[in-house]
């Protein structure tokens, strides 16, 4: 793996997609050139040491020299991030993480839940034309079903689910996914979303291979601190920021 460096990137656009969910485009040629699906950036949200650590955000999309991040405000760090103004600069470290492997299976089921939809866009862009894709997107409600247009413009017709039934299937996105994937016996699943969603997919689809983006607490994100242990089923841990963030969920404890 090439070693990552940090850079200051100019913010080109920054807007709210839904309640507490933001889309950020930055001009970052070096990153745009080298980033692969599955990679993430480690974002500095403070100019002093509070919080000390960066915040990891997956690359949602790339266009020319620009990189898109889509994130949800969940705490202090992401709230600070949401206050960055267009035109100002932001300190990014990356690209980090192992590029997501393209599943060998010809048929791939994509499942995104909530903010977990975001990292899947760039990954799907890479798989379009290379695999037969079925995309399932779920969220709390219609407005949080983000990036539908972007998936649509890839020629895909995502199947939708919302908890409140305001769009698509009423209920968890896992329900339509399980129905479809059980039918497609030779499919692989690539998922991103809350841990319980990932765990449910692995459990119910076994032995279908499920690849997932996991959110682990990171230290450095660049492999030097061993703070990002993800427990393996076989015992021991994987160094998540090096082996992930996209891992074969069948082999790990969620």
């Amino acid at each position: 793996m090439k070693s990552a460096t940090s850079c200051l990137a100019e913010i080109e656009s920054h807007r709210q997609l839904a309640d507490g969910i933001y889309s950020l485009w930055v001009k970052a040629p070096r990153i745009a050139r080298s980033v692969r699906p599955g990679n993430f950036l480690n974002v500095r949200v403070a100019d002093g040491p509070d919080p000390v650590l960066r915040r990891p955000i997956s690359v949602c999309d790339v266009k020319g020299w620009s990189v898109r991040l889509v994130y949800r405000v969940v705490g202090r760090g992401t709230r600070m991030l949401s206050r960055f103004q267009v035109g100002s600069e932001i300190d990014l470290l990356g690209p980090l993480g192992k590029p997501a492997p393209r599943p060998p299976e010809r048929e791939v089921v994509i499942c995104g839940g909530g903010i977990g939809i975001a990292p899947l866009l760039y990954l799907v862009r890479d798989l379009v034309g290379r695999r037969r894709l079925t995309v399932f997107l779920g969220a709390k409600n219609r407005s949080e079903l983000i990036l539908r247009r972007e998936f649509g413009s890839l020629g895909l017709r995502p199947r939708l689910a919302t908890d409140d039934g305001s769009t698509g299937h009423k209920g968890p996105v896992t329900e339509p996914v399980l129905a479809a994937a059980a039918a497609a016996r030779h499919a692989a699943v690539v998922a991103c979303g809350p841990r319980p969603m990932l765990a449910e997919l692995v459990r119910s689809l076994d032995p279908v291979p499920v690849w997932g983006f996991v959110e682990e607490r990171l230290g450095c994100g660049s492999g030097i601190c061993y703070c990002c242990a993800l427990p393996k089923k076989s015992g021991g841990y994987i160094r998540f920021c090096q082996e992930g963030p996209v891992v074969r969920l069948n082999g790990v404890l969620l």
């Binding site: 070693s3 990552a4 460096t5 940090s6 500095r44 040491p49 509070d50 919080p51 000390v52 650590l53 960066r54 470290l93 682990e216 607490r217 990171l218 230290g219 450095c220 660049s222 492999g223 030097i224 601190c225 061993y226 703070c227 990002c228 242990a229 993800l230 427990p231 015992g235 021991g236 841990y237």
Partner: protein, 300 residues
């Protein structure tokens, strides 16, 4: 003028090191490693260790708490797989060693005869394992015993990394000197506890070690205190983020410094610290550090 610093038999081209556990084995960012005074490896134990369950890291204002718990491949895998890869590093290499008995320290040190290893740093102060480690560092007698045991097995430069958890580092520094240490590192992380909303310990290892800027004024106090009372070269560690921070530690009495947590935030941090530190030094002496190390005590 030279920026180099000599400790025991080792000459470091400049005084800025990457701290143990925050720089892996120096291989991820060679462009940085090769320009530092040296790097300290992740702690190595006799047997491989999986480390503590997650989460292993927590933040608080100005600092972090980690409970990695000495995850490492163990002596043999380190010797066979990691060390050969480190051959390409162009910098001084200090191997950080941890153990659960004095004999384990001695064994690890004794078996690492490779010329790629310039020095050892005995970690008698890791707060993240229940037995040994941290507890050793709280007993001057144990510090002396461990240092002696290691000293008897190697001629390489021997550094003892001390804690200030519930012990006066003056006492353990003296013990390290009596045991034959060439230098001491001050300080390792301080004990820290973080709880979830329900009162449950947040970290998988229950408690952990505090590092980062929040540790800095205490670490600086310790360096100043030991420098005033014990005649031993000191390597300063604790919250160093900038050249000025490094200069502070040298003024307080350190002849080398380590950059730890800062590298987690920015892999170029240690190099930046060195370049900034270099800027602050007037270029008029034979050794750049002559006027700097221990300067604080001249104001007393």
């Amino acid at each position: 003028m030279t920026y180099s610093v000599r400790i025991g038999g080792t000459t470091f081209p400049n005084p800025v090191l990457a701290a143990s556990g925050t720089w892996g084995f120096g291989l991820s960012f060679r462009r940085v490693s090769d320009r530092l005074g040296g790097i300290v490896t992740k702690g190595i134990t006799l047997e491989p260790r999986d480390g503590n369950p997650p989460p292993r890291i927590h933040e608080f204002p100005g600092g972090i708490i980690n409970s990695v718990g000495l995850e490492n491949p163990g002596l043999e895998a380190f010797r066979r797989q990691v060390l050969p890869a480190m051959d390409k590093l162009k910098c001084r290499v200090i191997v950080n060693v941890a153990g659960f008995t004095p004999g384990e320290y001695a064994t690890v040190v004794g078996r690492l005869r490779s010329r790629r290893v310039d020095a050892f740093e005995l970690n008698v102060s890791c707060p993240n394992v229940r037995t040994g480690g941290g507890a050793f560092g709280q007993s001057p007698r144990m510090v002396e015993t461990i240092t002696k045991a290691a000293r008897s097995r190697t001629n390489k430069t021997l550094i003892v990394k001390l804690t200030a958890n519930f012990v006066d580092p003056v006492d353990t520094a003296r013990a390290a000197v009596n045991g034959g240490a060439d230098a001491v590192t001050l300080i390792n992380t301080l004990h820290g506890l973080a709880l979830g909303q329900d009162g449950r310990p947040f970290l998988g290892g229950r408690s952990g070690g505090i590092s980062g800027p929040a540790l800095r004024p205490f670490a600086l106090f310790c360096v100043d205190r030991v420098a005033a009372k014990v005649d031993v070269p000191i390597i300063g560690s604790g919250g160093i983020m900038s050249g000025q921070d490094a200069l502070d530690f040298m003024n307080a009495g350190a002849c080398l410094v380590q950059v730890g947590t800062a590298s987690l935030v920015d892999p170029d941090a240690a190099l930046r610290v060195w370049l900034e530190l270099k800027q602050t030094v007037p270029g008029s002496r034979a050794s750049a550090w002559e006027d700097i190390v221990g300067r604080t005590r001249r104001f007393d």
